[in-house]
Symmetry: C2
Subunit: 345 residues, 2 copies
């Protein structure tokens, strides 16, 4: 099955990207530092937009760089793009083909901003519209549901953060990602078994916070694309401001809660969901007390630095979505209604 084998390509692709593109990333960082960049303005859709959510937290926390997620329709339908002075304009797209994302970069360049394309197709329209191109080198992605291009986009974002900080410690930590990814994939058979329990799940929410807000969105997207489960992602804080009302006994809540600064806040929410609301919990974590709250605990390899957990946490989540698709009797290779390259305006 192509989806499953592409999920298993990830440790190798991540290692190769880190090795082969480090020099390019250092040059991109140099070009960025040479400009008076005050914030990043990032355009993406779908899986790539979720990678953008990681950039929002990582570049904010590690690089002090605020990030605005673009609203592409302002550039296309409304034809009234904002003034982008001071912005580094970034487009993230596997195919580099969606016209609305390309138009954001074209406008950024027209306004004299520095522009960067993060893409799997270095001769795509998106790459051609950009001053700087970061090729994620994931190889051709055949499965409709994106997996290896998501994690390589995250790796590209993490490498750029590291290059901007010139942090040798972070480069060293990045070198272990491929090994952790391998360890996470060893959960494959256990997750295949676990997915049985969710054969008749039709809806769920997916919680994550901080760096793993992105992971919650991407896990939910894989479930929607592949299993047709209505899966809605939230930060645990936004969830508390209203949507928690939906949860009644047995309601399934999937959560990404590894060690780190937001772990205690996630643990409080999961404790409340389990003890007071009798929710059903599927939890990805490396923390024993958090895992103990879940009917379905998914144990991460230990000692991953918090900023890199999104690159590893998504792997068991991808496996969960992949196996649940089969358990539900659907075709992982032919999700209904969607195509590999979606062109929106």
């Amino acid at each position: 099955m192509t989806l499953h084998s592409e999920i298993f390509e990830q440790p190798e692709r991540l290692a190769a990207l880190l090795e082969k593109q480090k020099q390019t990333v250092l040059e991109i960082a140099k070009a960025i530092r040479a400009r008076n960049v005050q914030y990043a303005f990032l355009a993406a859709r779908g899986t790539s937009d979720n990678a953008g959510r990681y950039a929002n937290y990582l570049w904010g926390a590690h690089n002090g760089l605020p990030l605005a997620l673009a609203t592409p329709s302002l550039f296309t339908y409304y034809q009234s793009p904002p003034q982008l002075k001071g912005a580094l304009v970034i487009g993230v797209s596997q195919s580099g083909q969606s016209p609305d994302i390309v138009s954001v970069l074209e406008e950024g360049r027209k306004q004299g901003c520095l522009t960067l394309a993060i893409t799997n197709v270095p001769d795509s329209p998106l790459a051609k519209a950009a001053d700087l191109v970061l090729d994620i080198q994931a190889g051709v992605e055949k499965a409709v549901a994106a997996t290896k291009t998501y994690t390589t986009e995250l790796m590209a974002i993490a490498m750029l953060s590291t290059a901007l900080n010139a942090s040798e410690e972070h480069w060293r930590e990045l070198a272990s990602v491929s090994k952790w990814a391998d360890q996470a994939l060893a959960l494959d058979q256990r997750i295949a078994q676990m997915a049985q329990r969710y054969r008749y799940m039709s809806q769920c929410v997916v919680l994550g916070r901080g760096f793993n807000y992105a992971t919650a969105f991407e896990w939910a997207l894989k479930l929607k694309e592949l299993t047709y489960v209505i899966a809605e992602p939230y930060s645990s804080a936004d969830f508390q401001h209203g949507p928690i009302a939906m949860v009644a006994g047995g309601f399934p809540v999937l959560a990404v809660a590894p060690n780190g600064k937001v772990r205690a806040s996630m643990q409080d929410m999961l404790t409340r969901l389990r003890k007071q609301k009798d929710a059903e919990l599927v939890v990805i974590s490396d923390h024993a007390d958090v895992l103990a709250l879940a009917q379905s605990p998914i144990q991460l390899p230990p000692q991953i630095p918090e900023w890199l957990t999104p690159l590893v946490c998504i792997l068991p989540a991808q496996l969960f979505a992949c196996h649940l698709t089969e358990v539900k009797g659907y075709d992982t290779e032919k999700p209904r209604s969607i195509t590999k390259v979606t062109e929106t305006h």
Copy 2:
């Protein structure tokens, strides 16, 4: 019922806000113009975050002002706020009390940025942390589900846009909002009848685009808070990049598609959903062909300028959520698990 009566207060509250706060808004606009503001950095949660989504499109389209939605956990849990040079830092909160939103403004002020609070409580911690305060004057909101504070937040955002542009035409258009709101509320009985059909709806998606992306989010939030329906909001473009796979025959899709620049794109999506996927459509629009696609059409008053449609479209959506709550046998005044003021960190 308090919720229903607060929904009906909106025409009056909107008119009063426009009249009483115009001078304050002009002064705020003057203070903003005196600074070298390159983008807005806005922090909010829940309903107020949806008002921020409107600001994202409106200020982008009418004022050329890019907007970044803040990630408050960077300011609280991670304690590594981004460098906000060049930003106008804005907090939007009905109560003005959530510590994470207050901390974003405090940090903005510390970094020397101009700060603005948009709130219903002008002596709240949020207001005290801000250089500029825009009091939305909605009166005490007793219902747990926010309605009048959402539309007055939108009005405050629209007034600020108009003041920044010094557009007399836009001030004139704003003066009609209260009348359109009145006309929209006349749909009350029809919507109460319509809600019967959705007695057993347990999940749905809510689509909107451009200015009404915010409306889709806010409609979905009211449904989640009050009716416990799993309601997931999307722009029609993001929906196409994956989640459309969830839709099978009879799947309910709620949509906000008034006349304007994105109407044709919404109409294409709704046509596909109805004709190819046999979806169930509830549609708010003022366009006959769009309404004709819906099993449950909700007709807006005619001739509302597109930029002001979010202030009117949300009213029938609020009524729909309110009546559906009663139809399902729940209490509109006591949604489970949520409180009026949610304090997140």
